[in-house]
Amino acid sequence: MIHTVLVCDDAIFMRTMISDILSQSGYEVIGEAETGTQAVEKYKLLRPDLVTMDIVMPDMGGIDAVREITKVDANAKILMCSAMGQQALVVEAIQAGARDFVVKPFQPSRVLEAVQRVLAK
């Protein structure tokens, strides 16, 4: 079974990079979002198996987006993509319902490991 992924990040560079890592390993990126609001809307629409979520995004941040998405679907599987030094925010995101995290700059192997862990749960 091919898992579907929604990639949320305000930087096109990051979205492209994550999408490349995932598609090369057999995941299907079915949507991208640039803002938290878009992430929530697209989640409702696409119901992906996994969401990768940037923390800092315009209009609605990643943590609020996690809250909104888990309200819609308590079983949503969200992987946070954090920059270094955002420990407290990552903890907050996990408390809001995120399942795991990866730290930028990304190492493809770490991203894939985390994705597998989140999907296995």
């Binding site: 954090s82 270094m84 420990q87 990552v90 903890v91 996990i94 795991d100 995290f101 990866v102 730290v103 770490r110 490991e113 985390a114 862990r117 296995a120 749960k121």
Partner: protein, 668 residues
């Protein structure tokens, strides 16, 4: 029996750290009685102190530390409220511990064991306010303490060495453990874990029916977990013991005897002097090779010096951390409400500067509470918040570090200062002093406005003592006070003591050093710019007239002749003064040696130094010169020339003492 003497020093330094942590946590507990973190922190400190002192054979200390644990355990289990009375009895216990530990090097001070036993008894007998047993127990995740919560199976977790955001990973692991059952203990606690303050691993206790395999499997699946062990039978002490390489993420430190640092500093100081001598010789020889060799060595010496200076720097938080306690105690005993805010704890100062200013700053804080802050009734009447604010700030300002103690109290009582100054004969009956002069009066030796002696301040020890301590360090004190709004005392300190840039000046064949931080400029003396009578001369400058001090006159040397003179414009805080000298010799780094002036003399010198040619020179105290200049120009009395004459002679004597030794001593 184990020879404990080798550990004595370690015991002392470490137990002081734990005591400081305990006091800090107790104050935090008083502020937020329902918080779990402080209770755990106090518990850990008491537990560690108990273990250490028992190992060292200090039974009374161990027994007292032991009594603290069950009381805290009742707080932790929400059976007892963390009331002020409870914090008080524990603080008293911490005091007894501190006194007893302080007495350890001298073989135990008189009565500290009895004090420990008395404090232990009070803690054991403490009744406190109990909470009805229906109160909810602690929510999970429990940042509990495994020594007291032994239920559940002991799980030890090792994370991978290259795990990113180890604190967050640990948090995820704890959450996963909570999904399996109730986590009854966590070592270290959740706060520390989240901050990543653990070694490769940590441990927890979990109450669950899940089989060992399931626990291991679930926790390994969190990711970045290297190993999980489930003992079930493991003992508590092992769980408490930090995993190997604890605090691996924190900077590595080695404890060094401070005397060794002082010796290093002295040696590099001598090296700097020797460098100066070599540079002079190389300059005279006109050999390129020699000059280059000496230049290389000089750069290396400069690097070495910078490293040693850096190794002596400590963040001010090291001494500031005990001040919340000082303010709290002062406020409570005086029946006032006070809150201390500390800012800039990471600013660094030389260890020796820090050691010396600790007492003065504590004094200023007590002063602020005692004389500055009003009683709650007065504050209410004045429309101020009932709790007085005291702020302690450290900040870098140009080449110096400023330490400020500010309160929002009543300000300096002008009338009382004037009355007292008149009674002491420091002020003429008719004089109407400016704010500047009021501040000056307070800082004069022997001045105190306290109407009665209190336990904290007023015992004849006032801001004057603070001021002279700071001046001795080559710093300056500034007092700004607004009636009804508060007082702000600023101590400006050199960040390091031992080596400063200085302008070397010659007067009547003698050399003196002026700290470059205070020197605005040096110029040829233009007699046309001078005005005023001989006793109150002024020099016109671009920024207005400045009082003039003729160093020859001040030091009672031969008076100035008609040859060309130079003048050095000096600044100390807001004050400026023009110092007439014969000539500026050079600007250079000097190594400051303490100079112990006789008591009762005008403190015109803040230290002494050895110049490159091996000749000693006294370092002029610029703040003091500026004060003299302003008193003189304001028509006030000149400083007692007798006192200066004594000091001047003494200075000459010290020179003789020091010609064959680089250490300056006050002649006996």
């Amino acid at each position: 029996m184990l020879d404990t003497s080798r550990y004595a020093d370690l015991f002392l330094t470490e137990s002081r750290d734990h005591l400081a942590a305990m006091s800090e946590a107790l104050l935090a507990l008083e502020r937020s009685p329902r918080a779990r973190g402080p209770v755990d922190a106090v518990f850990r400190a008491a537990h560690t102190l108990k273990g250490m002192s028992a190992a060292m054979g200090h039974d009374a200390i161990a027994a007292l530390a032991h009594e603290i644990e069950p009381l805290l355990e009742r707080v932790r289990r929400r059976e007892l409220q963390a009331t002020r009375a409870l914090v008080d009895v524990l603080l008293a216990g911490a005091d007894a511990l501190e006194a007893a530990i302080a007495g350890v090097p001298s073989g135990g001070l008189m009565g500290t064991d009895d004090a420990c036993r008395a404090a232990a008894h009070r803690i054991a007998a403490f009744e406190g306010v109990t909470i009805a047993s229906s109160a909810p127990s602690l929510p999970t995740p429990a940042a509990g303490i495994s020594a007291v919560a032994l239920e559940g199976r002991l799980v030890r977790i090792r994370v991978s060495s290259d795990v990113p955001m180890r604190g967050v990973r640990a948090f995820l692991i704890v959450r996963r453990a909570e999904s399996l059952g109730r986590v009854s203990a966590l070592t270290p606690d959740l706060d520390a874990l989240q901050r990543g303050e653990f070694g490769r691993g940590f441990s927890l206790r979990i109450v669950t029916d899940e089989p060992r395999d399931a626990i291991e499997h679930a926790l390994l699946a969190v990711g970045d977990v290297e190993a999980v062990s489930v003992d079930g039978e493991g003992d508590a002490e092992r769980a408490l013991e930090p995993a190997a390489g604890a605090h691996a993420g924190v900077r590595r430190h080695v404890r060094v005897d401070t005397r060794r640092l002082d010796a290093l500093m002295n040696l590099v100081g001598e090296l700097v002097i020797a460098r100066g001598r070599l540079e002079r010789i190389a300059g005279a020889m006109e050999s390129d090779d020699l000059t280059q060799g000496v230049g290389d060595a000089a750069r290396l010496i400069a690097d070495l010096q910078a490293e040693i200076i850096a190794s002596r720097m400590l963040p001010v938080a090291e001494v500031f951390e005990r001040f919340p306690r000082v303010v709290r105690d002062a406020a409570r005993q005086l029946g006032k409400n006070a809150e201390l805010t500390i800012e800039g704890g990471d600013i660094e100062l030389d260890r020796s500067v820090l050691d010396v200013i600790s007492e003065p700053v504590m004094h200023l804080l007590r002063n602020a509470v005692d004389h500055g802050l009003e009683s709650p009734v007065e504050r209410a009447a004045a429309g101020k918040p009932l709790t007085g604010r005291v702020t302690l700030t450290a900040s870098r300002e140009h080449a110096s570090v400023a330490i400020r103690v500010r309160d929002d109290g009543r300000g300096v009582d002008r009338e009382r200062v004037v009355a007292k100054a008149r009674a002491l004969g420091m002020l003429d009956a008719a004089a109407a002093p400016t704010d500047d002069e009021i501040a000056d009066l307070i800082a004069r030796p022997g001045f105190s406005t306290a109407p009665e002696v209190t336990a904290f301040s007023g015992r004849g020890v006032g801001i004057d003592v603070v001021a002279s301590t700071v001046r001795r360090l080559g710093g300056a004190v500034e007092i700004i006070s607004v009636r009804g709004e508060g007082t702000c005392v600023t101590l400006r300190l050199p960040p390091t003591l031992a080596i400063v840039r200085a302008v070397v000046a010659r007067v009547a064949g003698e050399t003196y050093a002026l700290p470059a931080a205070h020197v605005v400029t040096a110029l040829e003396l233009d007699r046309r710019a001078l005005s005023g009578a001989a006793a109150a001369e002024r020099l016109a400058t671009r920024d207005g007239p400045v009082p003039v001090i003729r160093l020859r006159t001040l030091l009672e040397m031969e008076p100035d002749d008609d040859t060309l003179k130079q003048v050095v414009l000096l600044r100390a805080g807001e004050r400026r003064v023009a110092l007439v000298i014969d000539e500026v010799v050079e600007q250079r780094e000097i190594v400051v040696k303490p100079f112990d002036a006789a008591l009762g003399t005008a403190p015109l010198f803040s230290g002494a130094t050895i110049l490159g040619d091996g000749a000693p020179a006294l370092i002029l105290d610029v703040a003091q010169l500026a004060a003299v200049g302003h008193r003189v120009s304001a028509g006030g009395p000149r400083p007692s020339t007798g006192a200066i004459a004594i000091e001047s002679r003494q200075a000459t004597d010290s020179r003789q003492v020091t010609t064959d030794s680089t250490v300056l001593r006050r002649p006996q």
